[in-house]
Subunit: 210 residues, 2 copies
Amino acid sequence: MSKVFVNIGLSLDGYMTPEAMTLENWDKPERWGAKWGALMGWLVRLQYFRENLGMGPGGETGPVNDMVKKTVERIGANIMGKQMFALGERMWPENAPFHTPVYVLTHEKREPWVRPGGTTFYFVNEGPERALELARKSAGNRDVRIAGGANVIQQYLNMGVVEELEIALAPVLFGGGRRLFENLSESAPQFRIDKAFDGPAATHLRYVRQ
Amino acid sequence: MSKVFVNIGLSLDGYMTPEAMTLENWDKPERWGAKWGALMGWLVRLQYFRENLGMGPGGETGPVNDMVKKTVERIGANIMGKQMFALGERMWPENAPFHTPVYVLTHEKREPWVRPGGTTFYFVNEGPERALELARKSAGNRDVRIAGGANVIQQYLNMGVVEELEIALAPVLFGGGRRLFENLSESAPQFRIDKAFDGPAATHLRYVRQ
């Protein structure tokens, strides 16, 4: 069966997005772009990421590039929250960067939104369990990634279904924003270290559910 | 001149101590001991730590043990907050585990408290700058460690004086407690990765001020 995993970038102080990176400020990157860049710069410089986003040739190769390629290729479906989707809807290129079905948790009723390149957004109104059921079905032999944002990951952690937690810990301090680890209940599983991989711009931590 | 550094254990969700580990509960380890053990177990099992605390022979040797020995030996003075001291006063053995002058930030007026084995606690009423001044003087060629708790480390981060940040990131989720990274101002310095070292029970992250 598909594994359920999280793979995200995290600031050293535990934030997934800087304070000012909101829907209202999406077109004011001067308020959040430097912090976002410090979090995600390593990713954007990779050859595979550039190729995958249609950003053209070039980019860094090596073990981090290989790791990201492997991660993207194992994903059969994504799940995300409505805030992440709303921000992405404005920021992603037309050829959205998922190339899989994406299940968006929302109260909004909306027809599936098909993008060129294999990404289709499905809007799920029946909650996280139903989204996971749909994602598992469409992922087939591949895995389900809980893409974010923070509160969606928290919901799935509290449901106990997250089997692998992959964090690219960047040395930047945001000082505020949306924290990954809060609102966790005692039912959240515990993890063990699988491996840590020391990149120059982020430390790649991989945990497996105990 | 002495370097100023932080060296602590941190839960994966960013806490230095579990919620229930307070002065009132110090004699009820059933409320916090399992989480504290998951955070610090790797340290207590080391040969050097056991020797240093008079816990007798035996214990793990190897690169993590060597690293801890090197860290302890570079410390010429410690600085801590009154809450950490108050808890430690009840929990440390008579031969307190610092073997250096320890400057305790407090409003309480109290004579220096000399312990066997080279630890003397000095109670500083004039704030963190003064404590650092005193600690630097007594550290000589060795370094000053900001021992904790979280709010004291935050004060020194915000003062911009912390040059090195060493974190043993344990895979445990506390779900609540005292967070290391909060209340940070924009004046807090940024760090770069110096190295990451993958131990079996904690990931040892070392950052240097940019």
